[in-house]
């Protein structure tokens, strides 16, 4: 299970830590769990540069207003609880975001507790086993 927290007092949002690797570089940024984002991850150009990510794709992305933006993407490895998977990272000057595709790849269920201001990512099979 991965445990996160609410942060950003102005707009309290659920953040969870995620290990990203590329080559010899490793970072553990906090990502907003964003069920409105269909992809894997969004990171800032600064994080992408520090990790040494190499641009290998261009994607058109539809935003909430129905507008379309073009973003550069890179491949990276995400490491969660002993599992390493190849993910697509969109690069933008935005909050780091974790999307639906990322949680689907790692078979995570997101449990957001707005009362206690906590967020947990738990492997779906383990939740079923508890029931």
């Amino acid at each position: 299970m991965v445990t996160g927290k609410f942060d950003d007092l102005k707009h309290p949002l659920p953040y969870v830590p995620t290990v990203i690797l590329w080559g010899q570089s490793v970072q553990t940024p906090y990502f907003v769990v964003d069920t409105g984002f269909t992809g894997d991850l969004v990171v800032t150009p600064k994080i992408a540069q520090e990790l040494g990510l190499k641009i290998d794709g261009i994607e058109k992305v539809e935003n909430a207003n129905g507008g379309i933006v073009v973003l550069q993407t890179a491949s990276a490895i995400a490491y969660m609880e002993g599992q390493e998977l190849l993910v697509t990272v969109l690069i933008s000057n935005n909050r780091p975001l974790m999307g639906i595709s990322f949680m689907e790849k790692f078979k995570y269920t997101a449990i957001v507790d707005c009362i206690n201001k906590t967020v947990k990512l738990e492997v779906a099979e383990k939740i079923i086993a508890k029931v």
């Binding site: 261009i58 058109k60 539809e62 909430a64 550069q72």
Partner: protein
């Protein structure tokens, strides 16, 4: 060639324009059976590479073109991803 040099040589606008054109010419080979999967399009060779995810499509494309930048699209859609109001591209 570095990524910056590659982007200057093949500017983003051209990759998108050529990628959209190639996708329009091949999409009937994939729709609707492969809707929801991804294509990575090498605009130079006009070859397309299928994957269940965008990462997989790009990985397949990089096996033949390790240094290229690909136009990536979700089959059955005009865009690759949708992003929420939390996204503010600056």
């Amino acid at each position: 060639m570095s990524t910056d040099e590659l982007l200057k040589t093949n500017n983003i606008e051209k990759i998108v324009t050529d990628g959209v054109e190639i996708y329009e010419s091949v999409k009937n080979n994939y729709q609707p059976a492969e809707n929801g999967k991804f294509l990575a399009i090498d605009t130079g060779s006009k070859k397309v590479y299928l994957g269940d995810t965008s990462a997989e499509a790009v990985r397949n494309a990089k096996m033949e073109h390790p240094d290229n930048i690909f136009y990536v699209v979700k089959i059955g859609s005009d865009t690759a991803e949708t992003i929420s109001h939390l996204f503010q591209n600056k």
